[in-house]
Symmetry: C2
Subunit: 693 residues, 2 copies
């Protein structure tokens, strides 16, 4: 990664020590003055922050602090020792991403505090004020007063101004694979929302007033607020407790089995708590604030990291054509089958083939909290990994490894080195990991500090072996792909495999909410691209189905950004629609620029992206269950050129339920003055390739 | 290991199916008829066993069974389906040991049972009846009724006949490093016993009526009973709950944090529950029943396994001459210091030098439940491991590695492969492991199933790397050194380092109880051989001291058997007594034969052993705080030869407290007709070398 920096640290505006009794108030306005942060310390030492957006209160005065379990005390009254401020304005270039260059521009306020309850513990508070929101973190500096400590509770509050509309999933220590609910905050009922989610195998809800982040709120006067966190390292996931009486949210850290939240040692910095605030939904989606709050890449030479598009020995198992396990006579990952996938990938210019069910253990892998399931280096007897990896090489295709841990993380950690060496010995440089089931160490949750550290260990170790990583059933991202650009994608939300879930499945609005919530933290391995919608092809008893049109499946390759993009459907379904399939073959997975053209959570998302190092643009538009007309303003195109627009769109009679496979492809010449009208069917979408002439 | 087997499986005496209603009673008598086992099933299906020794009841009818947590049910009423019996009489040769050849002679009774409460679950029960006691285990065969299951409680009872004298330590999930208590069972008070044990850093007692095994009982008419277990694999440690009303003991399995005892999958066999019964204390000490109940060695070619005698960079830290950590200016494991140890070891024919405090991390290693402490491959800057291992090689001495995990077992497991490779790269083939502190995974105990499995993983992996293992703060042994002969020794009891513990320290009777309790399971790294008794040499404020005579320290090399024997004291203390030190230099660590000449728990132990492959014998005699005269019957000597007896004994005025360093060495000619009288001082002992003329 090359970073073109013009890093400017402005002079410290204030450097002074306040007396114990001083009531203090500090205001920081963002560069454009859109965001105004105020930090108050009252006579008793209570510390609170508040945020206004264009003069309108968004966060009312909200307290900050901690309860520690070791030493056992409350950090809720502080003496302000010192405050500094500084300004940063820099550009940096990600290894891969939605845009080529990212501007990081903020004002920072630094508070040096001492516990006023008597312990003498020192705590710093760092606020960064951007034009689109704020980030803040706590810092426990190295100090004699405290070295090792245990967080009992983080008491960060987000006091809201009104009963906003919220796009939320229920708080849960083990799963983030819920459908989104859109209700007033006062109508949040996490237990009810979770109770009918019978498609989720492992749920660990803890309160009916708990929601997860990224949480999207919308005020009645049209301001969008996203609450999340950035740079989650060595700390549990933050979820949110809702107090309906005063419409307030409070950080809820995922505990371990001892009831502790985090075992820490000074110096330590918490993740950033982030609040993105925009009055346009498109601006919220364009925000890079979370990425900007993460640390630069640890990888000095990232030349081996390559965004990829691939297919997988995967959907066969989901739809009942094949099985992961060898026993039963329907084993998918056998040598012949995978050879066909390699041939298909080579013929259609995919980079890779994911192979699930390749290794021994699938006969007894799930649901029994079993520790020694897979060893990650023993292929089934009918899977000749040596010959297949050699064959793939001759075809210019790479196999993609699959490591299902079944939640037995101690077992995976024992085998990781050996497993990664085994991958390299077979010329495999990407791994999809899975964490289905209850975690071992028993008593740990998917979202606790121990697992957060595990995912970081995996990111570090794969980086060390020059392996690219895609994690499933993992913590939702917080922008760490800036720091670990080999961590290409995560699942960490309800993905397309839920199309085949019998109870709730997926709903048409899902992909119009994901960008505002889960995707704010980082790329998702969503596996788009289905061409066959009734999922009873191989099992006539199945009632499951995909609830989009075919054109919308194409659009998702643009609207759901990922540098690790699997075309989910079966080869035999793709070759039935070679003209539509052409879009999947053409669409890039890395971009120089991105424009959010139109968006409203729960309704629609329209995005255009410029291919990495090429003049061509790609657009995707998706709608919810309602048909709608989208007018695309093509002013993003280079005014000096004309473009061919190849539009893959819903046919007039298309409908996610009644006629999902009806699409048309049209071509026309456009310029940056063109406004193209595209009709989206119910549950539909459109995908467009703009080729420069 | 070569096994000379004359394996005889006798005809099945009974092979029949009983009707549901049949009340059943089966009696099996040992070969000599000393032990008589009776197994009863009553009308309701309750199953109980009882044991008589030479006609006298030892175990009254005692129920057997389980409570399962998954499936949630009780297994306490059974239908007997089938019973078989068989006889085995074989000899086998251990890789190393107290004797060259071991006879394994028992009658086996096999019960095939079905749950009578309705689940249909099948359970087998296997009893082996030896002349010195019984072993029994439960077996859950592979069955459709149950595959994965979770033990909630094992309900094995040991109903005793009277309020015997017991030699016990309090039940504790994390520590077995207690002083022994000798009281009537009715006087057991585990909480009181534990409360003044302030020398133990981590205690996890759970009941005032709980004791650990090996538990020694003595009846009022002089019968010795040892209750323990054999072949503890994939199951928690068994401790014992005492019911004082009926003087009964019940298995108490160490739980995990979820309250579960063991996560299992059929087929599964529990460890053997062992009851050794003898009317002579010497016979009890000579029993090889626990070893016989273990599986043969997994190591095909054990030629690389070598019993060893060594010194250590270790006591310097305990007495305050040096520190483990580098900071502070007193770092023991620096290159110069260790070079001197290598020179000393070479000059005095020790096999190795243990080096503790060699690696980075000791500045912050204990007491904070910290996960990432050591990486096991990073020496301190002042410790040149490359030059030292090369230097040791030129001197014919091997370095012994030290892996302190600080209880962070997840961290150790992540590093094990790398750490063992690092050892081999430095020509180091033995490792002492340590587990000081609370276990990580947090919520696991030292003695739970997860840790039992960890110790087995270490035994397996070290075997794979041809590394010899000595584990400290580990589970107490159950004879697994037969199966893993590379697992030379464990600590797993109060060892000599407690001489320097300020509160209780060690007491003179300790080494007269250890052989009857802890050592029944396997060798202990007790680190005998102290020549300096007041431990204020380097820190005048210390009040700690060693509570034996010097002669007793020599005797311990014989009475406390271990193939991995560290002479614990400092080189400068040894060279002050070169004549006494000669015994430590001469005494072997592997034996062809062993005779327990006299023993009484809490009072004295006298043992003679014949050196491996040599005609010479060595004897050790130790007493408690009382002086006593021991008459050694030398009939074990070869009648065809005369021997020189070199007797290292307490001087007439020796006394552990008043005059510990007073010893004399005398020589005389003896034969197998000689009866040698030796006077042991208070807290004293004697060591004798019988050299064949």
């Amino acid at each position: 990664m090359q970073i073109s920096k013009y890093f400017i640290i402005c002079l410290a505006l204030l450097t002074m020590t306040y007396s114990i009794k001083a009531q203090d108030s500090t205001i920081v306005q963002s560069k454009s003055s859109a965001i105004r942060l105020q930090l108050n310390t009252d006579e008793s030492g209570r510390l609170s922050y508040s945020v206004k957006y264009r003069g309108e209160p968004i966060i009312l005065p909200s307290e900050l602090g901690f309860i520690l379990n070791k030493p056992a005390l409350s950090l809720n009254r502080f003496q302000l020792q010192k405050k500094d401020s500084s300004t940063v304005d820099e550009n940096w270039e990600p290894v891969w991403g939605e845009v080529k260059s990212i501007r990081n521009s903020y004002k920072e306020l630094f508070y040096s505090l001492v516990d006023k309850n008597g312990s003498g513990i020192r705590l710093n508070l760092i606020f960064r004020v951007f034009d689109e929101g704020i980030g803040f973190r706590y810092e426990f500096p190295k100090q004699q007063q405290m070295e090792h400590f245990i967080i009992g509770d983080e008491q960060t509050r987000f006091n809201l101004t009104a009963d906003h509309t919220a796009f939320w999933i229920p708080g849960d220590y083990d799963s983030n694979e819920y459908l989104y609910n859109s209700t007033r905050l006062s109508a949040v009922d996490a237990k009810a929302a979770a109770s009918h989610e019978t498609d989720i195998a492992l749920k660990s809800g803890y309160s009916n007033l708990a929601v997860q982040t990224p949480l999207l709120l919308k005020t009645d006067n049209g301001i969008y607020i996203n609450i999340h966190e950035a740079a989650l390292v060595n700390y549990p996931v933050m979820q949110l407790d809702l107090n309906k009486e005063n419409i307030s949210l409070k950080s809820h850290l995922v505990p371990d089995v001892m009831g502790n939240k985090a075992y820490l040692q000074t110096p330590f910095k918490t993740p950033w708590r982030t609040i993105i605030i925009c009055n346009k939904a498109t601006e919220l989606l364009a925000s890079k604030m979370i990425l900007n709050l993460n640390e630069p890449s640890i990888i000095q030479d990232p030349s081996w990291i390559r965004p990829q598009k691939f297919i997988g020995m995967w959907w066969e198992m989901h739809v009942g054509k094949a099985t992961w396990q060898k026993s039963g006579g329907k084993h998918g990952a056998n040598t012949n089958n995978v050879k066909k996938y390699i041939d298909f990938a080579a013929e259609h210019q995919f980079d890779g083939v994911l192979v699930e069910g390749w290794n021994e253990g699938w006969e007894d892998w799930f649901g029994n909290w079993k520790e020694n399931v897979f060893d990650f280096v023993t292929p089934y007897a009918d899977y000749n990994i040596d010959s297949l990896s050699a064959y793939a090489k001759t075809k210019g295709v790479q196999l993609i490894m699959h490591h299902e841990t079944s939640g037995s993380v101690t077992n995976y950690e024992r085998h990781m080195d050996t497993a990664y060496r085994y991958m390299l010995a077979h010329d495999i440089h990407s791994v999809k990991t899975g964490y289905v089931g209850r975690i071992i160490p028993r008593g740990e949750y998917h979202d606790g500090q121990w697992m957060v550290n595990h995912f970081q260990r995996v990111a570090n170790k794969t980086a060390q072996y020059k392996i690219m990583l895609d994690s499933h059933e993992s913590i939702r991202p917080t922008g760490l792909h800036r720091t670990y650009p080999n961590w290409l994608a995560s699942e960490a939300a309800r993905g397309n495999e839920f199309n085949n879930a019998p109870a709730l499945g997926l709903v048409p609005e899902h992909e119009t909410i994901l960008p505002f919530t889960r995707l704010m933290g980082g790329p998702m391995d969503y596996t788009p691209g289905y061409f066959h919608f009734q999922l009873n092809q191989f099992d006539s008893t199945r009632k499951t189905r995909i609830r989009t049109t075919l054109a919308k499946q194409l659009a998702l390759f643009v609207t759901i950004y990922s540098p690790f993009q699997m075309a989910g459907d079966l080869p035999e379904n793709y070759i039935k629609h070679p003209d539509a399939f052409q879009f999947i073959k053409d669409v890039p997975v890395d971009w120089d620029d991105t424009r959010i053209l139109a968006a409203e959570p729960g309704d629609f998302v329209v995005i255009a992206r410029k291919a990495k190092g090429k003049p061509d643009w790609y657009a995707g538009a998706v709608t919810d269950e309602n048909a709608r007309t989208v007018i695309l303003d093509l002013s993003f195109l280079d005014p000096n050129f004309k473009y061919t627009a190849k539009i893959y769109k819903d046919a007039d009679n298309a409908h996610w339920d009644k006629n999902p496979e009806a699409y048309t492809i049209e071509k026309k010449i456009v310029t940056n003055k063109t406004k193209t009208k595209v009709q989206l069917a119910e549950g539909g979408g459109a995908a467009i390739v703009f080729t420069r002439l």
